[in-house]
C-alpha cells in the first residue's frame, strides 16, 4: 500500500482501553492558563459562548429593569431622556446581537459535532476566533456605555438621527464599528457550521437522517452568510459619512435615508429568524424525547424551517410600511408577511401532534418547550396582524409592536434556550439540574413574562408610542405600565432562579450518566461530559434515531455506535459527502493554537484605532492580525497540507 499519510483504509473495530488512552492524549487541551487561551475544543468554546451570552442577557436585563422603573409611573426621574435613549439602545443591542444569537451558537457549537458523530467542528481554530471576536465586539460596544457614550438611536439606528450632524458624540461610532466587528464573528461562525454539516458527518447520515436539531442552525447560517454583509455595509457607509464626509445618508446632498432602512432590514429581518429557527430546532429535538415518540412530520418541519427563512428574506419592507412607499409595492410584502404564517403553523401543528400522540413526561425542560408553542402562537398572531399594511399603519411605533417582538424573542428564544439548558446540562456537566427548583423557575418565568407583556398589547392599542422616556398621568397608561413593571421583575426573579439552580447543581446535582432522558440521538451515546475526542470510534448511522432503533423498528439495519472507524494517526475525523454521508476523506484536524486569540487582539487594536483616530494603532493592529493569519495558514505536514520528506 502507498504512503499511509497520503491514503489508507481506516480500520474498523471496537475501541480498546489503550486506544482510548491514546486518543485522550492526542485530543486533550493542556491544563492551566495556556490551554485556556489556546483551546479549540468545540465543547469548551460552546460553554464559553453560553456563559458569555448569559452575561450579556443579564446586562440587557438590568437595562430593561431600569427602563421599567422609569416607566412604572408617569413623570418619574429614574433615568433622564439621554440615559433612557442609551438604555433602550443597549438593551436591544445586548439582547438581539450579544445574547439571542450567540447563545444559540453556544448550543450548536457544543452539540453539532456530538449529534453529527464527529470529533470537532470543520474549522476548530475558526471556531475559537469566532468566540474571541464576539467577546471583543461585545466589550467594544459596552465600552461606549462605560464612558457614557453608548449607542442611542435604537438598535435599528435610523438615519438621519444617526448622522453626525444630529448625533455628534462617539455613540454611533461605537455602534458602527462594533457591528462591523461582530459581523466578522457571525460570518466565520456561520461558514463553519455550513461546512461542518456538509462535510463532517458520521458515515451513513444522509440528509434525511439529520437530527432535526441541525436544520435551524444550518438555515440560519446560510442566511447569515447572505445577510450580514448588508448590515456591515450599512454601518460602514454610516461610519464613512460620519468620519470622512461621504454623502450616502446625508439628505441635503442627496443622501437616501430609506437606503439605510433597506440595507438594515434586508439584514435584520432574516436575522430575527436566525434568532428563532435554531431555538425551534431545540424544541423539535427535545420535545419528542419527553413525549417518548419521534417528532410528527420530520419532513414538513425541516422544510418549514428552510421555507420560513426563504420567505423571511422577502418581507423586509414590512418594517417600512409607514415610509411612503407606494401601496401596491407594500401589498406584495404584506402578502409575503402573511404567507409566512403557513410554515410557522406547520411547525406548531407538528409539535402539538407530537405531544398529543405521545406519552408526555412533565419535566422542567418539557414545560419550557411546550410553553414555547403557546407563546409562539400569541407572538405569531400579533405578527400576522401587523403583516397587514393598514393594521400596521395603526400599530407601528406603539407598544403593540414591543409586545410582539418580546413574545417572539422571549417566547421562541429564551424559553427554548432555558429548556435546552435543563435538557443538555447533564451532557455539559455530568450532573442533573434540580427539578423541583426547576418547576419553580419555569412557573415564575412564565407568569412573570405574561404579566409583563400580555397587557402591553393593550398599552399599544391605547396609543402609547415606543421609545418615549416618560408620559403624563392623564394618558391612561399608568396602571398598565405598573403591571408590566411588576411582571418584568417577576420574570427577572425567574431568570435568577435558573442561575441559582445552575450554581447549586454544578456542586450537588444528581450524577446523570450518559443518557439520563433516554433520548434518541448520538450525543447521548457518549459519556457525560464527553471525552475531548467525543467518539472513540466514528459511529455509522442507519436512521434518524440511532439510540431508539430497537423500539421503533424503522429500519432493518441498525446503526453502529460502539463499533466503528478507528482513527488515531494524529487528530483525525472522517469527511463525508454532503447528500449521502459517504466517507470520502480522512481529515486531519488542527490542535490548540494561540493564533485565533492573537488575531482577535490585532483586530481589536485595529477597531479601537479606527474609533479614536489613532491611525498608527489601527496599522499596528492590522500588522498583528496579519502575522497571526500567516502563522495560522502556514502549511503544516501534520495536517497533510504540504509535502513531508520521509527519512
Amino acid at each position: 500500500m502507498a504512503d499511509p499519510e497520503l491514503e489508507r483504509r481506516p480500520e474498523f473495530a471496537t475501541a480498546t482501553v489503550a486506544y482510548a488512552h491514546d486518543l485522550e492524549r492526542l485530543w486533550e487541551t493542556s491544563p492551566g492558563i495556556a490551554g485556556w487561551l489556546s483551546t479549540v475544543d468545540h465543547k469548551e468554546i460552546g460553554i464559553r459562548y453560553l456563559v458569555t451570552a448569559f452575561a450579556f442577557l443579564c446586562a440587557g436585563g438590568i437595562e430593561a429593569l431600569l427602563m421599567r422603573l422609569q416607566l412604572a409611573g408617569p413623570d418619574r426621574h429614574v433615568l433622564g431622556p439621554h440615559a433612557y435613549d442609551q438604555a433602550f439602545s443597549m438593551h436591544g443591542i445586548s439582547m438581539i446581537f450579544l445574547y439571542a444569537f450567540p447563545v444559540l451558537s453556544g448550543f450548536s457549537n457544543y452539540l453539532w459535532p456530538l449529534v453529527l458523530g464527529s470529533r470537532d467542528m470543520a474549522f476548530p481554530r475558526l471556531n475559537a476566533l469566532s468566540y474571541w471576536i464576539y467577546v471583543a465586539a461585545g466589550l467594544f460596544m459596552y465600552a461606549g456605555l462605560a464612558i457614557g457614550q453608548a449607542p442611542n438611536d435604537g438598535w435599528y439606528n435610523y438615519v438621519p438621527y444617526a448622522n453626525r450632524e444630529y448625533n455628534p458624540g462617539m455613540n454611533e461610532d461605537f455602534y458602527s464599528l462594533g457591528m462591523i466587528f461582530l459581523g466578522i464573528s457571525t460570518t466565520v461562525g456561520s461558514i463553519n457550521f455550513i461546512v461542518t454539516l456538509a462535510r463532517t458527518r458520521a458515515p451513513g447520515m444522509s440528509v434525511n437522517r439529520l437530527p432535526i436539531l441541525v436544520w435551524g442552525t444550518l438555515t440560519a447560517s446560510v442566511a447569515n452568510v447572505l445577510a450580514v454583509p448588508s448590515v456591515s455595509l450599512a454601518f460602514f457607509l454610516l461610519w464613512m459619512d460620519r468620519q470622512f464626509g461621504t454623502h450616502f445618508f446625508d439628505v441635503p446632498q442627496g443622501g437616501q435615508p430609506l437606503l439605510w432602512q433597506h440595507l438594515f432590514w434586508m439584514y435584520a429581518h432574516p436575522w430575527v429568524y436566525a434568532l428563532v429557527l435554531p431555538a425551534m430546532g431545540i424544541v423539535s429535538d427535545g420535545l419528542p424525547t419527553f413525549c417518548r415518540r419521534p417528532l410528527v412530520g420530520y419532513a414538513p418541519v425541516a422544510l418549514a424551517t428552510v421555507a420560513t427563512m426563504i420567505l423571511g428574506f422577502g418581507v423586509w419592507v414590512h418594517h417600512m410600511f409607514a415610509t411612503g412607499i407606494p401601496n401596491l409595492a407594500l401589498a406584495f410584502f404584506g402578502g409575503a408577511s402573511i404567507v409566512i404564517a403557513v410554515p410557522s403553523a406547520v411547525a406548531v401543528f407538528a409539535w402539538t401532534a407530537t405531544i398529543w400522540l405521545g406519552r408526555p413526561v412533565i419535566t422542567t425542560a418539557f414545560l419550557f418547550f411546550a410553553s414555547m408553542i403557546v407563546l409562539f402562537v400569541i407572538g405569531g398572531v400579533s405578527g400576522f396582524m401587523t403583516g397587514s399594511v393598514p393594521v400596521d399603519w395603526q400599530l407601528t411605533e406603539t407598544y403593540f409592536v414591543v409586545a410582539h417582538i418580546h413574545y417572539v424573542l422571549i417566547g421562541i428564544n429564551v424559553f427554548p434556550v432555558v429548556g435546552g439548558i435543563y435538557y443538555w446540562f447533564p451532557k455539559f456537566t455530568g450532573r442533573m439540574l434540580d427539578e423541583k427548583l426547576g418547576k419553580w423557575n419555569f412557573w415564575t418565568m412564565f407568569i412573570g413574562f405574561n404579566v409583563a407583556f400580555l397587557p402591553m398589547h393593550l398599552t399599544g392599542l391605547w396609543g402609547m408610542p415606543r421609545r418615549i422616556y416618560t408620559y403624563s398621568p392623564d394618558m391612561g397608561w399608568t396602571t398598565l405600565n405598573a403591571i408590566t413593571t411588576v411582571g418584568a421583575f417577576i420574570f427577572a426573579i425567574g431568570v435568577a432562579m435558573l442561575l441559582i439552580n445552575v450554581v447549586i447543581s454544578l456542586r450537588v446535582g444528581r450524577i446523570a450518566g450518559a443518557n439520563p432522558w433516554d433520548a434518541p440521538t448520538l450525543e447521548w451515546s457518549v459519556p457525560s461530559p464527553p471525552p475531548p475526542y467525543n467518539f472513540a470510534v466514528i459511529p455509522h448511522v442507519a436512521s434518524r434515531h440511532p439510540l431508539w432503533e430497537d423500539r421503533l423498528g424503522e429500519s432493518e439495519v441498525t446503526s453502529l455506535v460502539t463499533r466503528g472507524l478507528l482513527l488515531d494517526h494524529g487528530r483525525e475525523t472522517i469527511g463525508t459527502s454532503p447528500l449521502d454521508g459517504d466517507p470520502d476523506v480522512i481529515l486531519k484536524m488542527p490542535g490548540d493554537s494561540y493564533m485565533p486569540l492573537l488575531l482577535s487582539v490585532g483586530l481589536t487594536m485595529g477597531f479601537v484605532g479606527l474609533l479614536v483616530h489613532l491611525w498608527w494603532l489601527a496599522v499596528a493592529g492590522a500588522a498583528v492580525a496579519l502575522i497571526a493569519g500567516v502563522v495560522w495558514l502556514w502549511p503544516r505536514g501534520t495536517l497533510g497540507q504540504r509535502r513531508v520528506r520521509h527519512v
Binding site: 480500520e11 414538513p300 428574506f313 411612503g324 407606494p326 406584495f332 447528500l579
Partner: protein, 150 residues
Amino acid sequence: MVADAGAYSGPAHPAPARGRVRLGGVFFGLIGGPAAWVTQLIVNYGLASYSCFPRIRPSPYGLPGWHGIWGGLLAINLVAVAVTVAAAWISFRDWHTTRGEHPGHSPHALDAGEGRTRFLALVGIMTALGFVAAIVFDTVALLAVPQCPG
C-alpha cells in the same frame, strides 16, 4: 464480514434509488419555486414602486408611459407560477419513480423516514406547492390594491 479485522462494512447505502433520477432535476424541484417567488417579488416591487414614485416626488396617477405596467406585473407572476408548477411536477415525477426506496418502512409519507432520494423529491413537491401559494398571495395584492393612489 465485520469480524475481519481492518475491513469495514457499513449498513446499506441511504439512497439506493439515487441512480434513477437526475440530480439536476432534484435541485430544480427544490429551488425552482423559491427562486421564482423571490424574483417576482423583487422585480414587481421595483417596477410597482418606480411607476408611482419615480425619483424624489410621488406621481399619484402613475408615470406617463407606465400605465401598461400592471399587465406586465401580472405576466411576471404567471411565469413565476408556471416555473413553480414545473418544479412541482418534476419533483412529483421523481417521487413517483423512487417511492419504493426502502419498501415496507415508515408508512406515513410525510415522515419519509428512509430513502434519501424520495425524501428530497417529497420535500420538493411540498416546497413548490407552498411557493405557488406564496406567489398567488402576491397576485391577490395585484388584483385587490390600486396601483398608485395612496
